[in-house]
């Protein structure tokens, strides 16, 4: 076994939440581990490490991506946004407010992934039905809520966004 090659590091440069980052990463390390342990951005979580739960969702080049299925080296040159961002977009803000008000989270471990996934839905479809919301979130596991409140919260956020098209006035 050639152990040393596994621990050779590779240089990457990327933009994370608007900040340019250069780092040397292990070729076998996942993107979510790099963000969490390399950069200390612990807002995305690790629930399964095999692409099923959605807790690790991050935004890569504008698309929601499973941070556990992507290697850190694959993110070289990419623009990445995580829930930790201090300037989240209007969709994320509306969803955060609605999740809070509707108690659409309990332990909160799924919430970052849920909100990023729901934001992607609302960006695509500003007025989704309950079924469309359930379908869009069908790759995000939540053990606590039973999903009903999450669907409610996404609907509330959608209404709030439609009431404030400019996005300046926040709901609530």
């Amino acid at each position: 076994m050639n152990n040393t090659s596994l621990d050779d590091t590779i240089a990457i440069s990327l933009s994370v939440n608007g900040t340019n980052v250069s780092a040397r990463v292990s070729p076998r390390g996942s993107l979510v581990d790099f963000l969490r342990h390399g950069l200390g951005l612990t807002g995305s979580h690790v629930g399964c490490e095999h692409g099923v739960c959605g807790a690790c969702n991050v935004i890569v080049e504008g698309r929601v991506v499973r941070g556990c299925l992507m290697l850190a080296v694959q993110a070289d040159g990419a623009q990445i946004t995580t829930i930790d961002s201090m300037s989240p977009d209007r969709y994320v803000l509306a969803l955060q407010q609605a999740f809070y008000e509707r108690a659409a989270l309990q332990c909160g471990f799924c919430t970052s992934g849920m909100i990023l996934q729901a934001a992607e839905l609302l960006r695509r479809n500003e007025t989704p039905t309950r079924e469309e919301i359930r379908d869009a979130l069908s790759g995000n596991y939540c053990r606590c809520t039973g999903y009903h409140a999450i669907v409610d919260a996404v609907q509330t956020a959608s209404h709030a966004l439609n009431a404030t098209p400019s996005g300046n006035r926040l709901p609530g």
């Binding site: 979580h45 108690a103 989270l105 799924c110 359930r134 596991y141 939540c142 053990r143 809520t145 039973g146």
Partner: protein
């Protein structure tokens, strides 16, 4: 003494309010164990047995030790120098047989996934590299997997043990056989429950740091009861209790999975003690599926006797429960079986009862307490028998239920299964549920759907759930588990209140509930209350999160603590204002003169004066701004709650797949502190129950290989497959407390499987078939429809 004070003061109690703490969580600013790091921390990984039962020898660790970054390779011999074994014993079941268990296996492994060696390295990846270089030789022994094989006893879970029977328990009233002899109808039901597990999204994890200079340990753990963990770490590592500090930070779900002692956690504590550096371990998902406690492996046979008046005269139950390789420490896996027995017969007045419980050892991971412990088994079997009994009598099961419910006038009534039934509302809940679900119209609709060829069914399940276990539950078993709490309420000079409590927050929202209770108890605005939980150094010993105890036990203690502070503040204000305390009130942080409602001073002014200018206070006045109250409930060791659930399901004729179209719950947890949060507890529990009924199954092959290691193999309820869940309440306050709150957190999980099972069997009834195994597989459904008999469907 039910509503003195609490009812009158209610401003926040009973109000649906979002949890202040979730502002952090929606922003990704939660702090779970793996988000916390200590300087110099090392990472642990475990070598796990690939064999379900084998003797083994570790032949070689030097190569592992040579791997880059590896600091130590530890085996049981190393660990045993600092951490002793543990063994589950019950003082009130002295015959319980469960061998001692260790952080790492000694000579023999008894379930697949049991840890046998531990590598500690600079990174988790390096620790895992080290694992690959440990050489182990196994000598396979026959493995016991199914309950049936365990009972047959040809192979032994523990080589050399007399049998696989860990415990046998029987009880009977005197007239059971007579009741069956005289019965107009006798109905039977057999149900098989397959193992499932809790799957909290955050896996188990621990970060332990030992300070040799002080012989002290700091532990961060994803755990439900910090004080229990502290007590056991101190005991097993032979440390002074107050030198072990356990912090449970944000916890990503528990559901009972995180209340046990696991080999991995104890091995990490041992490793930090041996190495003198912080050691972290977070289970990956495959490890969680393999090593978290599983639950609900039962085969139950039951019969019900019904007399000629349509009254249930007797119930007979025979339950075999799978424990896995050990009875889990310290609470015992057998608690699930006992809990199931206690809940048998549920909402019904059944005077004659006999039961046999056999808890068997198997070469699988331990089973243990998981949300609604045992109750779903009892409710499923009872409610399946109710449907059968009604069918045998040719009447509606609603009529049959109502004839047999325990009536309010009959309570308190101690069931022969040992439940003291008090303050329950079976009739109100059922009536409310029938309205909520639009039952009459729904039945008409179902007829129409069936005529159109759709396979649909509606199922009901009444339930009694015992919650908020009192001290006698574990005390009489000699198990050191606290059912008490302490709440410390301290007012600062600005009039804000900091609360410390031994309750634990695992997402259920008790932190918010306590804030609401204390705000009302003292007379303060809720924003002034900050509740801290989950740190043994900040709070005296107490129970944590289990048995839906927060509102009923901690809440009651918090109310009392708040009233003490209120009394201190009012008498100080009265002395300063030269009036009587009775003439004053405290409302939203203002000291109010009672008749006029005029504000005389603010609590902040009062607190500032007490803190900084005590010399201005009247002579001899020494108000206490920090007060504590501790205790638990005296009577009603198992505090009953009740409710009714219903499900509407549709079966896909081609695939046999069951779809839950809608689910309803009417539930009575007494006084509801925060309806917003209680409803979501119910909904979350219902969906776990739907998972139990339709998807979740920890599969083992016949030779003991675990086959559900990933979330692709272990099916979970996901958003697209779940229905909306309607929830309503009946509030019958518990008469033995001031607040009148009872447990609510597990009620959803309690009866959802039963409602789904009854709904599926109602859908299958026109085909003359039925299902009797959970989870209900599409194949079983097709078979029950006669669709798998070679005839083109």
């Amino acid at each position: 003494m039910s509503s003195n004070g609490a009812g009158k003061a209610a401003g926040y109690i009973g109000k649906g309010m979002p949890r202040a703490a979730t502002r952090r969580l929606v922003s990704g600013r939660g702090r779970y164990v793996d988000d916390i790091s200590l300087k110099g921390e090392l990472h642990a990984a475990f070598l796990r047995s690939p064999r379900p039962h084998a003797s083994f020898k570790i032949l070689e660790t030097t190569e592992a030790k040579a791997v880059d970054g590896v600091i130590a390779v530890l085996t049981v011999e190393d660990i045993e120098t600092v951490c002793g074994p543990w063994q589950c014993t019950l003082a009130n079941a002295p015959n319980l047989f469960s061998p001692p268990q260790r952080p790492l296996a000694l000579q023999r492994v008894v379930f697949q996934g049991e840890p046998i060696a531990m590598v500690v390295a600079m990174s988790r990846a390096q620790a895992e590299d080290g694992l690959e270089r440990i050489v182990v030789e196994y000598d396979d022994l026959p493995a016991v997997t199914s309950i049936e094989d365990a009972i047959a006893g040809e192979a032994r879970t523990h080589a050399g043990a007399p049998s696989n029977l860990a415990l046998e328990y029987v009880q009977s009233t005197s007239g059971v056989e007579l009741a069956f002899d005289k019965a107009a109808h006798v109905v039977h039901q057999r149900l098989k429950f397959n193992r499932k597990t809790g799957v909290p999204l955050e896996p188990r994890g621990i970060l332990a740091s030992y300070d040799p200079a002080d012989d002290a340990m700091l532990v961060h753990a994803s755990h439900q009861m910090p004080h229990q963990l502290q007590l056991i770490i101190a005991d097993l590592l032979d440390m002074q209790l107050n030198k072990v500090r356990v912090i449970c930070p944000d916890v990503g779900g528990g559901f009972g999975i995180k209340m046990h002692i696991y080999p991995e956690e104890m091995a990490v504590c041992a490793a930090t003690k041996i190495l003198g550096r912080p050691v972290k371990y977070v289970a990956d998902r495959i490890e969680s599926m393999l090593s978290d406690v599983h639950a609900r492996e039962h085969v139950v046979e039951a019969s019900m006797a019904i007399d000629s008046d349509g009254r249930i005269s007797a119930l007979k139950v025979d339950d075999i429960q799978g424990l896995g390789a050990y009875s889990v420490y310290p609470r015992s896996s057998t608690a699930e079986g006992f809990s199931a027995l206690r809940a048998m017969g549920g909402a019904y007045k059944i005077e004659q009862f006999s039961a046999r419980l056999r808890s068997v050892l198997q070469n699988k991971v331990m089973t243990g307490q998981y949300r609604s412990v045992g109750h779903p088994v009892a409710v499923a079997i009872t409610e399946a028998l109710i449907e059968q009994g009604a069918r045998a009598r040719g009447e509606s099961s609603i009529v049959f239920r109502k004839r047999n419910f325990v009536k309010a006038s009959e309570m308190p009534w101690v069931s022969p299964a040992g439940g003291r039934m008090i303050d329950l509302s079976h009739y109100e809940c059922l009536d409310k549920l029938l309205i909520l679900s639009g039952h009459a119209e729904l039945e008409r609709q179902i007829t129409v759907w069936r005529e159109q060829g759709r396979v649909v069914g509606f199922g009901l399940a009444s339930f009694v759930e015992f919650t908020a276990t009192g001290a006698e539950g574990y005390g009489r078993a000699g198990v050191l588990v606290s059912s008490q709490d302490t709440v410390i309420v301290a007012m600062d000079p600005t009039g804000m209140v900091t609360v410390q409590s031994s309750a634990a927050e695992i997402g259920q929202g008790i932190q918010q509930g306590l804030a609401q209770i204390i705000a009302d108890a003292v007379g303060l605005p809720i924003v002034s209350i900050r509740v801290n939980l989950g740190d043994t150094q900040a709070s005296p010993h107490g129970g944590g999160a289990w048995s839906s105890r927060g509102a009923a036990i901690t809440g009651e203690v918090a109310w009392q603590a708040g009233r003490k502070l209120r009394a201190e503040l009012l008498s100080a204000a009265a002395a300063i204002l030269q009036t009587e305390a009775e003439q004053l009130d405290l409302v939203e942080g203002d000291v109010i003169e009672k008749p006029s409602g005029r504000a005389r001073m603010t609590v902040a002014e009062l607190s500032e004066m007490i803190q900084f200018r005590p010399y201005d206070l009247p002579e001899g006045l020494r108000p206490q701004l920090t007060v504590a109250h501790g205790g638990g409930r005296g009577g009603d060791t198992f505090l009953p709650t009740n409710g009714v659930q219903a499900a509407l399901v549709e079966i896909d004729k081609m695939s046999g797949k069951v779809v839950v179209l809608k689910h309803w719950v009417v539930e009575d947890c007494g006084r509801v502190i925060n309806p917003l949060l209680v409803d979501e507890q119910i909904r979350g529990g219902v969906v776990q129950g739907i998972g139990e009924a339709l998807y979740e199954h920890c599969r083992y092959t016949e030779d003991g290989q675990f086959a559900s290691g990933t979330l692709a193999d272990y099916l979970l309820p996901m958003a697209a497959d779940m229905p909306d869940v309607s929830v309503a309440h009946v509030e019958t306050p518990y008469s033995g407390s001031v607040l009148g709150a009872k447990g609510a957190g597990e009620a959803g999980a309690c009866a959802a499987p039963a409602a789904i099972l009854n709904a599926v069997n109602a859908a299958l009834a026109p085909f003359g078939g039925s299902v009797d195994t959970l989870p209900i597989s599409p194949v079983a459904v097709l078979r029950a429809m006669g669709a798998l008999q070679g005839v083109a469907a």
